[in-house]
């Protein structure tokens, strides 16, 4: 419990860190032509959204939402549920994206967006 009170962020600073992370992910997605790197960027973006949800669910002085005698303050369980399922769904969709990347590589011989566009224009 003592850790909870020492562990204090400037009130909005944590949101700003999350936004910086989100923008890094966004930057990777739009600035890089490599499809694998784009998917990594999407993952970074995704994790930042998860963090945003979990951050909003936190109550200062609360504990993990597992009911126990003598504890009255819990963090909000609802964001935890949503993000828990979202992570597993996220990895499944990431796998689908990676599968598409593999097929793109087999069809075009490259995973760089520019090269694919050039090949398309030639054909």
């Amino acid at each position: 419990m003592s850790l909870e009170t020492e562990f204090y962020f400037p009130s909005l600073g944590l949101y700003w860190i999350i936004i910086v992370l989100m923008m890094i992910g966004f930057y990777i997605v739009i600035a890089h032509g490599n499809l694998v790197k784009k998917i990594v960027g999407l993952n970074v973006f995704q994790v930042s959204v998860f963090l945003l949800f979990i951050t909003m669910g936190k109550v200062l002085g609360g504990t993990a939402p597992i009911l126990k005698e003598g504890v009255s303050t819990y963090s909000n369980p609802l964001p935890h549920v949503l993000i828990l399922t979202a992570i597993v769904v996220g990895v499944a969709t990431t796998a689908l994206g990676l599968a598409l990347v593999v097929r793109v590589r087999e069809a075009f011989g490259t995973v760089e967006e520019d090269d694919i566009c050039a090949l398309e224009n030639d054909a």
């Binding site: 993990a64 597992i66 828990l84 399922t85 992570i87 597993v88 990895v91 499944a92 796998a95 990676l98 599968a99 593999v102 087999e106």
Partner: protein, 147 residues
């Protein structure tokens, strides 16, 4: 990676415990952190470790692709079936109160069945995805050598 003896020995030692831990997380999800999603992923990661060290064909002998293909929809169907059971017993879709005599008993039963469905689907989905990728890699190797 088959020839690395440390990896072989350690992973042989670890895999049963990973699977056991997966089962523990599956059935203990009501009382501590855990549940179907985590259990499925942990259970699958045991098989994935096995596949990484000993090759995907060995995973395919342990879990034939027919088995994953049957279990994958079976988890989803089991989930849906528990919901439909609620209708037959006179409640709403996914209403577990009516599944047993006492409402909390029904809730316990419903949650355990549903977590089982989730766990089965997630585990088989992860194993399917991994082995598809890995067997694709094995297919591609000889083709690259041809080039």
């Amino acid at each position: 990676m088959k020839e690395k003896i440390i990896l072989r020995v350690i992973s042989k030692f670890l895999i049963p415990y990973i699977l056991l831990f997966g089962l523990y997380v599956q059935w203990h999800g009501d009382f501590g952190p855990g549940g179907g999603f985590q259990a499925g992923v942990i259970f699958a990661s045991g098989f994935i470790l096995y596949g990484l060290i000993f090759g995907v064909s060995n995973v395919r002998t342990a879990v034939p692709s027919a088995a994953t293909r049957i279990l994958l929809p079976l988890g989803v169907l089991g989930y849906g079936l528990v919901g439909v059971m609620g209708i037959f017993k006179g409640g709403n879709f996914l209403d577990y109160n009516v599944l047993a005599a006492a409402p909390t008993g029904g809730q316990h039963l419903g949650i355990i069945l549903i977590e089982l469905g989730v766990g089965v689907t997630v585990a088989t989905a992860m194993i399917t995805i991994f082995s598809t990728f890995a067997s694709r890699a094995e297919l591609q190797k000889p083709r690259d050598e041809e080039r």
